[in-house]
């Protein structure tokens, strides 16, 4: 009985690993295979020949260099604005008690339930009305704050003893100094977890840039990739896979660097100790 469970667990884990990893392997394999081989009916696990010309094609035809630069700028501008707005709000919601804090938190939870995907029509009209359509600002502004970020960072801050904050205020530190030098350092895992999540989402976002960015100069990486699956020119699988690999690598690096904090901050809330 015990042995069966053990074997089952190993099989499950092995299958999960293969399934998680396989598409990435396949992306790499397709990116180095020749164009003819991709369309051959014979399946082979390893490519017969290896060529890197798809990477050159992806980089130049997709203008990936520019797209990655735009993506970097947009992603980090969004992250900076979100942290600037979410951390103070989370600090107040977690550490201060006013008549309105409960209601405000309710408002945050309510907004958390409204997906950005279904509010795009008024956003699109509004952005155009303010003549911001097709600008970098249009890509950044709608995400200047995040209710998810406020929620996650607040939850992390809830585990900080209030006595600590009171002591710091006794010492004559103002609310802002208390936030920066006492509360923020202790909420680091939550802040890191949210930051990584925000980077994932906005680096990879497809829907809003598809609406908001028409000029080639402000195309984000997903828009640049979509060029290779244009029905008119036919699917260029190797270039697409190569482009996908180029675009995915920075994200994996971000995750590996922030991994330790990310995992700690991901537990939802209130890690004691």
């Amino acid at each position: 009985m015990r042995a069966t469970i053990r074997i089952g667990k190993w099989l499950f884990l092995a299958a999960a690993l293969v399934i998680s990893f396989f598409p990435f392997y396949w992306m790499a394999r397709t990116s180095v295979a020749g164009h003819d081989e991709v369309f051959s009916a014979e399946f082979s696990f390893l490519p017969e020949s290896i060529t890197f010309e798809a990477y050159a094609r992806a980089w130049t035809d997709g203008a990936l260099g520019n797209a990655m630069l735009v993506g970097l700028l947009v992603t980090f501008a969004i992250l900076a604005l979100q942290l600037l707005t979410c951390i103070p709000a989370a600090y107040v919601l977690a550490m201060h008690r006013r008549r309105w804090t409960g209601k405000l938190f309710g408002f945050v939870l309510l907004c958390l339930l409204i997906p950005g995907q279904v509010t795009m029509i008024p956003l699109f009209i509004g952005i155009n009305q303010f003549r911001l359509g097709d600008t970098l600002a249009a890509l950044i502004l709608p995400f200047a704050t995040s209710v998810l970020g406020t929620f996650m960072i607040r939850n992390q801050m809830m585990s900080i003893p209030r006595a600590l904050m009171e002591a710091s205020e006794m010492d004559g530190l103002g609310p802002v100094r208390t936030m920066i030098s006492v509360v923020v350092p202790m909420a680091k895992p939550g802040i890191a977890a949210f930051s990584v999540y925000s980077i994932f989402v906005h680096w990879n976002d497809y829907m809003w840039p598809l609406l908001a960015a028409r000029s080639p100069e402000i195309q984000t990486p997903p828009l640049a990739l979509a060029i290779f699956q244009d029905a008119a020119t036919g699917f260029d699988y190797p270039a697409l896979a190569a482009g996908a690999a180029i675009v995915t690598v920075p994200i994996i690096i971000v995750f590996l660097v922030a991994q330790r904090h990310f995992v700690r901050g991901m537990s939802g809330t209130e890690i004691t100790g």
Binding site: L17, V118, N204, F255
Partner: protein, 317 residues
């Protein structure tokens, strides 16, 4: 949702209620102390109001009008937009598909995520490596990955059918048939979301004290009972968070569907998100698209309120 985390809980638990800093307006410093919280939350509150709450309200208002895309005056049409979407076959299909897609991705993602977290957590060596590999799907750019999956699920020469062929099964037209297209995009959705819930559960498991487990094991309590009676309740915040994120992920299926099937064939994998997009920005019927979008918001709010009641149990408020 997560009402157990509301401020009131903690306040009751606090031993000595801190003095509410409310000095009679005096020096600049004390006035600042009084107003600082308001100033600090304002940017978030104002931006969330402008970019999240207001658009949701406007979606509702817009659903009663005919809206010209280029700007200009709206004309009131009452319930026409709702009548239009409810009598439109493809839209009905997209609503049904969205319900199926949500159920087919949220529940399996949570279960598989938990199983992966438990299996990875029980490893004595290589825990971090396994966790990193299992998390890879979440880092994927779905536009890019959807294309890899398009290839994997290709009818001829795709690896999925090659594998089926190896075990002697007939090839399946994963993306090109009305029977399988929704299932195929749901499989991709699970692939991604399960890796995310895995990470949340994994982090949650780390918050369960090992001594608690040992004690239960000593008492001879079986693994299953330990999981249900001890582990999951202790890591309840993680469970709640995983559910929230699984729902958010399932709502964000737009990229996958648009790139892999574009809702087809014959609307068989069309979801509300892709349908609303199509109506709004391909057919330029912004009013009907607003009506459909608002249905989605209303459904999510309903789920949220229900979840809040269920998960909060007999808790506070």
């Amino acid at each position: 949702m997560t009402i157990s985390l509301a401020p009131s809980t903690r306040e009751e638990a606090a031993t000595a209620p801190p003095p509410d800093l409310k000095p009679a307006a005096g020096t600049g410093a004390t006035r600042w102390r009084r107003w600082a919280p308001v100033v600090l939350v304002s940017p978030m509150a104002i931006l969330a109001f402008i970019f999240i709450f207001l658009p949701a309200v406007l979606t509702f208002i817009g659903s009663w009008f005919t809206i010209p895309l280029a700007g200009g005056s709206w004309s009131f049409v009452g319930l026409d937009n709702y009548r239009e979407i409810f009598s439109n076959g493809p839209v009905q299909r997209s609503i049904v598909n969205t319900v199926i897609y949500s159920l087919a991705t949220i529940v399996p993602s949570l279960v598989l995520g938990l199983m992966m977290a438990l299996a990875a957590d029980s490893l004595t060596r290589g825990k971090a490596l396994v966790r990193t590999l299992l998390f890879l799907p979440m880092t994927a750019n779905m536009v890019a990955m959807a294309v890899v999956f398009t290839y994997i699920f290709d009818f001829r020469g795709g690896i999925a059918n090659t594998l089926l062929g190896m075990i002697g099964a007939a090839p399946v037209n994963w993306l090109g048939s009305t029977d399988y297209s929704l299932l195929t995009v749901a499989l991709v959705g699970i692939w991604r979301t399960a890796s995310f819930t895995m990470m949340i559960f994994f982090a949650g498991l780390a918050t369960v004290p090992g001594t608690m487990h040992e004690a239960a094991r000593m008492e001879g309590i079986s693994g299953w009972t330990r999981l249900v009676k001890i582990t999951l309740p202790v890591m309840k915040p993680s469970v709640v968070f995983a559910v929230v994120m699984a729902i958010i992920q399932s709502v964000q299926a737009f990229d996958t569907v648009r790139v892999m099937t574009d809702g087809g064939p014959q609307y068989s994998s069309e979801l509300i998100q892709t349908m609303a997009w199509r109506m709004g920005f391909q057919y330029f019927d912004l009013g009907a698209a607003s009506a459909l979008s608002f249905l989605m918001i209303a459904a999510l709010l309903a789920v949220g309120l229900w979840q809040r009641r269920v998960l909060a149990g007999s808790g506070d408020k």
